[in-house]
Symmetry: C2
Subunit: 182 residues, 2 copies
DNA sequence: TTTAACTTTCAGTAAATTCAGAAAGTAATG
DNA sequence: CATTACTTTCTGAATTTACTGAAAGTTAAA
């Protein structure tokens, strides 16, 4: 039961992209493999499909679980664990996004907050603080905005996404309405 | 002319975050350093401030230029090149965002497009294509959306960002108005 | 209990990345 | 054209990261 050429190509691509997406090659491959495979897979099947060691698969599973990207299934009368994607594509993308925010933004935000609480003690520090303030604002906005998006219902989200170039108009629209209400 | 303790802490933090942000430690440090330093710096000043080799700085500059994050200044009667951030924080974040989209999304999008053009030749491939289709849609949406955001005027953008939890309401609003217009 | 079926951990190795410093390149000046 | 002041490229060493395969751990059934 091995992968067709096309499917293998996709899985290998996921591997190559793996590190860009925040994990490593093997984990990217595993993730891709599980996504395009209809039936949940055992660790051994994964190892065989990708020609990697069983131990490596075990570590990969752990990592994918920490990202909440896969879940475990069991079959009656079978002790093996079967792994499958934890949700729809959209959910998984969200998870990756959230996790990356945690790693790429939150630590910096916290450093900046601390720094901005201190009084600058000379001109260099003053300028630096000004710049850090800018970064801080930007990151706060991104954070707020992303949590906002996650709060929307899938339906609303869909509408928003389909809005496309209409978004500008809607902002203007909101503006007008808001003025009227004043 | 060395960094104050606080500013150094920020620069080192940028280094630690560097690889998460898509470059490496040195380049992260260089980027942070240039951002909080008011005056443009020479390659040697950068090397000294960060205690790294001159060659390393040169490679870092090249990389930062490929990201369009820094620009070169010249002083009359001085052959040295002086480096400074290429724009405001917001612009730089945009550049990073764009560049990362190019590296993290575009290649996959193109692979998926190719794959989806082919006829699936069995059940496995059919299921795989269904999943790839989902990913494709998601990535297309993200792409469209991000280019949309970049097209907005800074003013509109600001309004949009400040909208926060109001975004849901505006979508519903837009919905109502649109219905009326039907 | 013991065994069998499975999973996880871990030490050592392999591979990839990062970096310093030397060598080579470039261009302005005398 | 030689010198000086600079920049870039490149090599191999150091560091970091990823991976294998063996050993240890776990759990269920016999």
């Amino acid at each position: 039961m091995s992968l067709s050429e096309k499917n293998l190509a996709f899985v290998m691509h996921c591997g190559e992209m793996g590190s860009r997406w925040g994990f490593n090659r093997t984990i990217g491959q595993m993730c891709g493999l599980l996504i395009i495979t209809k039936e949940p897979m055992t660790a051994n099947e994964i190892a065989d499909s990708l020609s990697i060691s069983r131990g490596n698969v075990s570590m990969g599973i752990k990592e994918l679980q920490s990202w909440q990207l896969i879940k475990v299934h069991h079959k009656p009368g079978d002790r093996k664990e079967y792994y499958a994607p934890a949700g729809e594509i959209w959910d998984m993308a969200n998870r990756v996004f959230e996790e990356r925010k945690k790693r790429e933004i939150d630590p910096t935000l916290s450093l900046l907050r601390d720094n901005l609480l201190d009084e600058a003690s000379n001109d260099d520090e003053l300028y630096a603080q000004k710049q850090m303030g800018e970064i801080h604002n930007l990151l706060e906005t991104v954070t707020k905005w992303s949590s906002e998006l996650q709060r929307l219902s899938p339906e609303q989200l869909n509408k928003l996404m389909k809005l496309g170039s209409g978004i500008g108009k809607v902002i203007d629209l909101k503006d007008k309405i808001f003025k009227k209400e004043q």
